[in-house]
Point group: none
Chain length 232, copies 4
């Protein structure tokens, strides 16, 4: 090229082209950044109170760009939910099939594993989002139910059944026993994202300690035990 390097116009072009290069490198990442920003904000403020401009800003793009990737705010919302729903139930299901330890340990493993993979990540905002917005987005609530709640419940049910079958757990209601495991986890996810509860440390909640305490009680509650004078 004959163009002198110090020609200001050329320099400008290069800057532009560098930026373009960088931009294109990041292009693939755009939807992900937008989804991450949107997840944060939707979880924090709810769907209606979140402005798309905020989402775009947080993702480092302009408002218009967001609409290149998501045709509407609602589509963005759906994409956020979809993107953060772990399709890991088959994986977990397999782990359960091949698990060889005690059912108590299996419950411990599951709950802790949920915390590591979901609860402690941003994906834990999804339950809060669904609780808050289910009424406004019935289809996506249905989708969430089918993709998450049903498989999750089924998984828990099989774990409990395994414990009963192996003589480790006392027989529990096959439907309502599930909530014994499910409720503490969903509660934890929501509590975590309710800044009203977390803002003030007067009602503190350390997730690991919380899970440990819940497991202790639940597992003793599930365990088979000698006859006791207590009414059960």
């Amino acid at each position: 090229m004959v163009i002198k390097k110090n020609c200001p116009v050329v320099a400008l072009c290069q800057v532009v082209s560098n930026e373009r290069a960088k931009r294109e490198r990041r292009k693939e990442a755009r939807p992900g950044e937008l989804l991450a920003a949107a997840l944060d904000l939707f979880v924090e403020k709810g769907f209606a109170a979140t402005r798309v401009e905020e989402v775009a800003q947080r993702a480092g793009v302009s408002k218009g760009t967001l609409f290149l990737y998501f045709s509407s705010k609602e589509e963005l919302f759906k994409a956020v939910v979809r993107a953060n729903i772990s399709g890991r139930f088959t994986e977990w299901s397999n782990e359960l099939e091949t698990y060889e330890g005690s059912s108590e340990d299996l419950v411990r493993y599951c709950m802790n594993s949920w915390w590591e993979r979901i609860g402690s990540t941003k994906a834990s905002g999804i339950p809060k989002l669904m609780m808050s917005e289910a009424g406004n987005f019935p289809e996506i609530a249905k989708f969430y139910q089918e993709e998450v709640l049903l498989p999750g419940s089924a998984l828990i049910k099989r774990i409990l059944q395994r414990g009963v079958d192996r003589g480790e757990f006392t027989a529990v209601d096959p439907v309502y026993g599930v909530y014994t495991i499910l409720a503490p986890m969903i509660f934890l996810a929501m509590w975590k994202h309710s800044s009203g509860s977390c803002g003030d440390p007067s009602v503190p909640l350390n997730p690991e300690q919380y899970i440990a305490a819940q497991l202790n009680t639940i597992l003793q509650g599930l365990s088979v035990r000698p006859a006791m004078p207590n009414k059960a």
Copy 2:
């Protein structure tokens, strides 16, 4: 009475007083009707997605009337929360003081009583509302925490301590043990108001059965019992 019933002046006075009474009865009923309508809608759709006109309509008045009683949508929201926060903790606290049965029964009593007094009423929407909107209304979230969460937690803590003191309950973490009781109730309240989850009966939840099942497991989990080979 010596006054003749058909004295026109007297009659007028009575009419006036009847009219005034009726008018004022209506006027006094308005805020309550509006609060009830607003609670429903805020719980169902969230603060931002609820239109004041809807609230007014559901209360059977026009848009403008709402603003005669609440100076803004936000004030309406605050009033809804305030109006539905039961200051019943002293009452419950007294019941606890004088309770003479076993601590297990006390826990049962408390949970069932919560369901009867709060959970089964519209007030059960408040926890969902607070979870969803705490981020957008920090002051009112703080108020909720101080007026509800802290006293509630304190009450539960005392019940657990009573059980331990009387040799009925195993020692639990004084902080995290509380969640063993709290989490299932809050979960129930939120689940109930998450129409996305309830709309479809594929994951059903009958509150009484749910509470019974939770109590069974929790109470066995809390109970003192002979040493077992299980890790506790």
Copy 3:
């Protein structure tokens, strides 16, 4: 009447009837009180920024009552203007006809008299009102012009002409000479009611001193005088 005096219902009726008596006594005064209140507020805040409820309140009646006397806010406005337009031009005109002093004294008399009868009263708000609202109320502006500005201008013109005819005043433009007298008075009326100007005493304006100073300059300006080297 057989009714006992201490019967509470009767007592109430009496109170009512006393109030009614008082009310009826004041009934005749109502429109005047409303007009006075409206004048104050319209002048202070303008037509659009004045709320009818404020007017009613200041007049000591309810909002509904105002509409018993004036069919709309606009009618109230028109009535305010009409009520405060002095039909005194014929009176003044007569005074002029029969005035026997110097024309200079006549001008002094007129300006001071205007201040006493109009400028220092609430009616002085009308010019401000008309200046501010003329664009929004063309008909009433026209009415004001016909009833006030034209007669007032004509009066001034005749006074000036009298001075010229009697050899007291230098000849001035018959149209624009009028403003020499008119402008200072209207300016005074508006300045007085512009709280922005009056609120702060950094640009003070004592009406009597203002008028005296204006008269001094104007009258010397109008006076016939010996030839001077000044360009006139």
Copy 4:
């Protein structure tokens, strides 16, 4: 230049820069167009009676666009006042310092110059606006007073003092003498914008003739002259 004109990258840069230039030219012109439209309407109808949509329409944009440039109707109003307040008093002050003609000519120059620079422009609406709205916008009225009325009065005072010092003007009250000059100008500005008065030509007012007539009378009124039997 070595760079080929048809180098596509360069061309692109130019296009971009043209596009940006045009876009930004529009963007930069908007506030001015909006301010001009708003000035017109506020002066004509007053603040409260002017609808923002009208302002936007007259500026050729949509309602929403206005709010991109002014955060509220009130801010628009403030900006209108600020934008039309000439900070030209230092300039005028300098002209006064270096003026070499007679004080009479200086007064003529000032009044005519005010007409050319302010009175005949749209900025002449500001005095009317301030008179009408001062009560509703105390802060901006204060600002107007400090930025316009006080410097303006000070300027006039110095001109009069100059005349007295040079033996050209008779001694006048240093405070109230100012109004001799100020009142006719402010009156003119307000009269001009009171369409009620101007709409009908029955009380006509040609500004140049008005100013000439006022000057004639005022200047003779200020001039030093031989003792006269008139009371002064």
